[in-house]
Symmetry: C2
């Protein structure tokens, strides 16, 4: 049986965050000691690893919950897992392409007046001037 601190150290998820996941229903309520402290087993440890990995991959908690609910599912239900992975991938690619155009523009801005910024700085101007952007850029997420 593991304490919450042990879980935290081994998964890299902070202690308050573990409690937060419990609150949200992502982790089942664990057994408690006589003194009311949480004690976890290996199943909980694995589940927390799973959550952490999904979060690292950028999945929102709602999707993680969806995946967790598929545990032990079979057949058609598993299409949901594929769908989540696919959706996430598309989202990721979109984010990357948008960030790349932002990178191009920031590079432009940063170089705008290298060194020689006297009285009216081109950087400030560039931040304010949308018209110089290479392409359209939606709100970054």
């Amino acid at each position: 049986m593991y304490s919450i601190g042990y879980l935290s150290r081994h998964t890299g998820v902070k202690v308050p965050t573990i409690r937060f996941y419990e609150d949200k229903g992502l982790l089942p309520r664990p057994d408690r000691t006589a003194g009311n402290q949480r004690r976890y087993d290996d199943t909980a440890l694995k589940r927390l690893f799973f959550i952490r990995h999904c979060r690292d991959l950028g999945l929102p908690l709602a999707d993680v919950e969806g995946l967790l609910s598929l545990e032990g599912a079979s057949g058609g239900d598993l299409n949901q897992a594929h769908e989540i992975a696919g959706r996430q991938l598309a989202d990721l690619r979109d984010r990357i392409s948008r960030l790349r155009s932002l990178e191009a523009e920031l590079t432009r801005i940063s170089k705008a007046c290298d060194g020689k910024h006297d009285h009216v700085c081109a950087v400030l101007h560039a931040f304010g001037d949308h018209s110089e952007c290479a392409g359209p850029h939606a709100h970054s997420k």
Copy 2:
């Protein structure tokens, strides 16, 4: 003089968000009509464009505030603007590289059991298994 709705339509910033920015001190409190409605001038319009552009570039509001406070500044103060642009650029590049490694992994996961997902799905397995990752990936932002 422009209404808040006009500002919204012309900058693409939603009406409640404009009020929010005013609350946060990013936009000065505008004049009001006898009936207490906000009326803006061109200066406010430009300022809002500036804010929006910065937000599109991914700057947090705190940084936007910093840039706005540099208005009319000269000499050394302008280094701050460069610093913000540079910092933002570094952050962006970091995000892009992390997202790219996530993309690689999600691609792997998505292909894990194409079509043939019978009873224990590789996708679910892959989501839970950190050890198969190509490289380390910190929490995506």
